[in-house]
Symmetry: C2
Subunit: 331 residues, 2 copies
């Protein structure tokens, strides 16, 4: 058997994060739903930005963050997505490639600018996200690289990307290429409101053959329209052969139809900014899974990566995740 | 007497910093002069960026950093400078205005993009800067707002801005407007290599009537072409009625023709990134001076502001400098 070129190839939104600290009052005055991602248009992006305090810019996006996490663990990741030929597009491409993530899609000359997300971080470390999709709106099967998908151990898709009109078709096309090549198909549900926007589409897609699902407890309950997490997880285990359900500081559950493995959250001295926690959890799990670690160790790699990311501002690691994993004898 | 509208109005380069961590090997392999600012063209900016690791973007520039520091201390600052109508221009303008700094110059539609500085931070916290001036190259008297200068207690100019072909004239024009309105004229020498590029021009400009000069020990020695700091300071005290000479962790000297006041550096737990240390020192001093604090307290405000900035990545405060100053009974 030939070794795949990449552990993971991802398809998702290309985003530059604009991160500002604020107090809870600001969230309330702006009428924002704390902890949630909402989509905004160019006009609202301009308005909200003008109200926000001084910010820092750092590359983001769910799948791109996970790709960087995989690279930081010593894995090989590739990203497929859509940026514009502008300064944020340069920044986004640089920050992926410079850590060794494969990113072949050329920035698009015309049309909407590179996507950005206005992220407001409150003193409790919670982040409230306001995303202007920009160039991501046009994400379609044109962004797919069939060879990359065939030469990867896993394909990783993000629920957020479902918001574009042609993205759903791209997901099915990518998953079909993956299945034909025996590439494992994984998906993250991204956000409870995202689940509400696409509930039936998500269920149909999962049942069409998603092998590995990432979700937090709120997203699983939204998916099955219930307030009962146990009931939601029971239904999920019927629909999906493997799922990782995260529960913030309570840790996570790794679930198969046969069993549930409980993983403790990695202790963190101070939660500074939770942006990217789920993305880096997925990074650790995907890397471990691609490298044939057992499910408990996949969960532990996930928790270590998530803990690093919430201890500082921004969704990209500031320390080598491989070193952190080695210190716990996981690599 | 009518109270001036602003404590300080500054003229300088508008820059977005692109900050990446690197090891000393990288600095050596790139043939860079550690701790120094060098000017680079668009081609070299693209080349070096492609070699650098993942980065974060944060607004910078000497005078803009000082303006933000003054605002964070509770003062009123205004900035005059040149950006382009692009995403970095948006970021730069936002980060000034959102903390309350007055910035009226509209971004320029045509020509070079907004200036950026590729900053490499080594494990010792030292920063090595590679500046693509971009739109700043065209800085001229057109950027001046005479009314702003007349309505400010101090005018603040940066040596770096001397690198543009029309900037020198803008400095003289700004200083002339200031002197007619009894606005105090202050200048920072910026960098020892900058002093070498413009030595005689700087001396001429200082002798034409700079009231307050900021420099570090290397810049003062470069200005007077001597390796003897005592000798250099003696000459400086003949040329300038008030000067603050910074000496990194050794603190600073505040010098008049009559006396020298020694100011200790504020202790810092860990030096993370020295970018902006001089800029924030100037911010604290300028604010104190504009508010008629005695020279020793001006120096202490300066040291407190500098200590905050070197304890994290980026040249803009992450904590209210006013709160830090209040905790030491300086406000």
């Amino acid at each position: 058997m030939v070794q795949p070129l990449h552990d993971v190839v991802g398809l998702g939104s290309a985003i530059v994060d604009i991160v500002a600290l604020c107090d809870d009052d600001f969230i309330q005055k702006q009428g924002l739903d704390k902890g949630i991602m909402r989509l905004i248009d160019a006009e609202e992006a301009t308005r909200l930005y003008s109200e926000m305090g001084p910010a820092v810019e750092v590359s983001g996006g769910t799948v791109p963050n996970s790709c960087v996490g995989i690279a930081s663990l010593g894995g090989k990741a590739a990203f497929m997505g859509r940026t514009a030929k502008d300064q944020f597009g340069d920044v986004f491409g640089h920050d992926l490639r410079s850590i060794g993530v494969t990113f072949k899609n050329a920035p698009v000359e015309d049309g909407a600018p590179t996507g950005r997300c206005l992220i407001l971080v409150t003193p409790d470390g919670e982040r409230t996200m306001n995303t202007f999709l920009g160039a991501n709106t046009e994400l379609s099967s044109a962004e797919l690289d069939p060879e990359l998908i065939r030469d990867s151990t896993l394909l990783y898709l993000e629920g957020y990307a479902f918001d574009g009109p042609n993205a759903k078709q791209a997901f099915y096309d990518a998953a079909n290429i993956a299945r034909d090549a025996k590439t494992t198909v994984s998906l993250t549900l991204s956000d409870p409101f995202c689940v509400e926007r696409h509930r039936q589409s998500f269920l149909d897609f999962i049942r069409s053959g998603v092998n590995l699902l990432f979700a937090n407890h709120r997203e699983v309950m939204a998916l099955y329209e219930t307030d009962d997490l146990t009931e939601a997880c029971k239904l999920l285990r019927q629909d999906c052969p493997l799922a990782a359900v995260t529960r913030s500081e309570k840790g996570s559950w790794i679930m198969t139809p046969e069993k549930v493995i409980e993983i403790e959250a990695e202790p963190v001295e101070r939660v500074v900014d939770t942006t990217g926690a789920g993305d880096l959890y997925a990074a650790g799990f995907l890397f471990g899974y691609a490298r044939s670690h057992n499910l408990r160790d996949c969960g532990r790699l996930a928790s270590i990566a998530a803990a690093e990311i919430i201890s500082h501002i921004g969704p990209r690691p500031e320390t080598s995740l491989a070193e952190l994993a080695k210190a716990q004898n996981l690599l």
